[in-house]
Symmetry: C2
Subunit: 478 residues, 2 copies
């Protein structure tokens, strides 16, 4: 019930960022914990955000010729083991099915931690000639990784994701696909999540188990920590060789295709919370908000008010917006707080005095600003306001990223940054694993990525002092 349920205060982000985050997850009704330790339930409001993410992203994938498929959830151990690096990377966190009904299985089956092996197994069965290439596949599903410590959206034993898997005739085409999908993710973060990212390449230490190269988008949360928000991998022909995936090439000889994979997850919802949220709750970018506009009648018992509110809803829906009219018997004040908690981008208030004046009040979730607009032409006013909300959210996040990215020269400076306000440290790096490990040990940061935009200037490695040119980002990561 609405009235029984209080919109409770949440912990302020300045007091306890982690608790603030968990409070939003629970109080905006995004998730619930379950009887299965480390697993989460996506409640209707949380899942509706994920549906919007899926719809937009899936549309982008299809524009570039990708097709969806569904692979088995369980992978035989022998199949998983054919590629040594992958299985070593994932073995410690695999959930194993060992019984079917009352029978012990002859071979245990892994609940997929990722599906490269299943796709290779399938391609081994269906690929024959270069004319079938490229094969551009994707699947939406959940995966399980047996994490020790878990947090909603950020790290849970099961999470929902998409995993793209493609094979190509040439290494160049596969590299181009890897890059295209990284850009697809970055554009999605900008246009749908109002979230700027740093695009870059992972170091060998941080790359995906079995990949030749891993590319990543890294975003900065309001607590100035890094969140890896999507990755795109280039495998060369390593898995093709391990799984005997071959095709007859243009030269009539048997060849191995070149492979990519790329993924984003429900973690993006965590990114949105920590990029835009505030002490009143969630703040959602309009593109993924389940409710873009909430209409709230004020003094709803007065003649004409409810009818006018209903008409506003009808008109805005006809303009293609996702609208909710809350005509429940809760007080307007309660409703304001409730939809602020849920991050609804725009609120429309209408009462008897507005009706007289032929106007209504629009309130923005991001800035709290209110404005009165004429009911005539309301649609375009709301559309503009939604665009303004998106743009402002992006600008704020970009400012946070820029203000808290520091060009530093020594590990001592990086350490000081971490211990004071946090942020991204941009330094040079000599390329040695040793220095990467020392940076972690001495300054408490992991390498986030070598940005695709390299400055080309010369500097020194902040650990060993060697002259070098490679730019790299460091930070404390989720």
């Amino acid at each position: 019930m609405a009235q029984d349920k209080k919109v409770e205060q949440i912990t302020s982000m300045e007091d306890d960022f982690a608790q603030w985050y968990t409070d939003i997850c629970k109080k905006a009704e995004l998730i619930d914990y379950s009887s299965v330790k480390g697993f989460m339930i996506l409640r209707p409001y949380g899942y509706a955000i994920w549906e919007n993410i899926q719809r937009i992203m899936d549309g982008e994938f299809k524009k570039t010729g990708h097709e969806n498929v569904a692979m088995p959830a369980l992978i035989p151990e022998s199949l998983l083991k054919k590629e040594g690096e992958l299985v070593n990377g994932f073995a410690p966190e695999v959930a194993w099915v060992t019984m079917g009904g009352s029978d012990k299985l002859e071979e245990r089956l892994a609940f997929r931690p990722t599906s490269e092996t299943m796709f290779c197994d399938h391609w081994h069965s269906v690929l024959q000639t270069y004319r079938q290439l490229p094969m551009l596949y994707n699947q939406w599903c959940s995966v399980i990784r047996w994490e020790k410590t878990t947090r909603p959206f950020l790290r849970s034993r099961e999470f929902w994701w998409q995993e793209g898997h493609t094979i190509h005739e040439t290494a160049e085409e596969a590299m181009a696909e890897t890059e295209q999908q990284l850009n697809c993710y970055a554009d999605f973060c900008r246009d749908a999540l109002a979230m700027p990212v740093v695009k870059g390449r992972k170091t060998d230490k941080e790359k995906f188990a079995g990949a030749e190269a891993t590319y990543t988008i890294e975003s900065m949360m309001k607590d100035r920590k890094a969140l890896q928000s999507g990755t795109s991998h280039y495998f060369g022909d390593k898995f093709s060789r391990a799984y005997d995936v071959t095709f007859t090439g243009r030269d009539n000889k048997l060849q191995y295709p070149f492979q990519t994979s790329w993924g984003t997850t429900t973690r993006l919802i965590g990114a949105v919370i920590m990029t835009h949220g505030d002490n009143n709750g969630l703040v959602l970018p309009p593109a993924i908000a389940p409710i873009q506009v909430v209409v709230i009648p004020v003094a709803a018992h007065k003649p004409g008010v409810l009818e006018a509110a209903a008409e506003i809803k009808t008109r805005l829906e006809a303009a293609g917006l996702r609208v909710k009219l809350d005509d429940s018997d809760n007080s307007p004040g309660w409703k304001f707080a409730e939809y602020e908690m849920k991050g609804v981008p725009v609120r429309v208030e209408i009462g008897p005095r507005d009706l007289e004046k032929g106007q209504c009040c629009l309130a923005r979730r991001d800035t709290g600003e209110k404005s009165f607009v004429a009911l005539d032409g309301l649609e375009s006013q709301v559309q503009s306001l939604l665009t303004a909300v998106h743009d402002n959210l992006y600008a704020q996040a970009e400012k946070n990223l820029e203000d808290n990215t520091f060009d530093l020269n020594s590990w001592q400076e990086v350490k000081e940054m971490v211990e004071t306000k946090g942020g991204f440290a941009r330094t040079k790096w000599c390329g040695k694993l040793e220095c990467e490990l020392k940076m972690k040990e001495l300054a408490g940061v992991s390498s986030r990525c070598m940005p695709l935009k390299q400055s080309g200037t010369e500097g020194v490695c902040p650990v060993c002092g060697e002259k070098c040119t490679t730019d790299i980002y460091w930070g404390v990561a989720y």
Copy 2:
């Protein structure tokens, strides 16, 4: 490659219906077998059909206020066991996770065979007052049931489905929901799959483990066997009591909500194959066809042909249709066979002579009829043809159902029907389990359902001869 790949003949359905079915699954590229015994892979074309089914059905669910959620894939054994009938019904076919990483789990976890228990667990945690009711939830996911013998779409160890789960304040509301969703399924089968169904109630023997009542839609395949195509269950407050799901009612007392669940699966794709397919392959109803119209240029090297074909594609897409232009270098004859195998409802052919006359040729997949139509106004011609294809497919399937449903009076007549041509036997039934079991033993049929449309006439039970009024359907089922 297209040219390397022959469109091979498939087994004729008259020679071997089971092999004909499997041939279509493979040669229309709907599925592939995998390295995991009893599991299937949904290939792009098969998954695209499922995506269309999902999109349409999900839209219908949302119109009646249902919301999607995501529940954990794994269920603790103790949770599963709280409701005795359910666990007894499913225990023999559950896949058990017993290891997480290298650690043996303290309690084994079932890969969900169905999720009533998880929904109850969640409701136990979030439900407080009658004002929160009804909760109308659904999830799209896969489930695992460890079947001994498997067939693509019809019976496999993993399948994809939607499972709706709802709770209500009163028994009446829950019963109304059960009925509404059964009707939703029947309407979907008629409007999207061009498939008539018999709506009815299952006998106690055939109902879902733990349900108070199970309703079903039963369809008849071209081999006159029955396919259970969707079910809707009413649970009363049995699970609520077992899982301690309670709310404060209008009378301020603690009450148990009344519950339903309802599901349809990728089995519907099997139903479509066996309802509409023929010896040239798949025949898809337009509403769920990934490609509704294929455009094939004839003598494509002649001036203007390819351009005209491309323009037709553009125009038909602008009219909202799903269109593929096949401008590959395969012969038109090969292409005709290929898209017949894939069940594309309408083919547009255009060659130099058509161009001269300002026309093109339309060929229907269902009847093979060809007609020449003017390029002007092509959109409406194609739209009408797609409607005609749908209507004809439905009419054919309805004729098959009606022609092969027999009103019979004794088990001997039912046995004779089964041994000659098959079909549905409609008889009276006294309601005794004993007679139902004897019918199976003596005539080889299972009860399909007691139709919602009861004639009300009196007759005799075909087994014991007792006077009774209940109508019931019998058949050999998949």
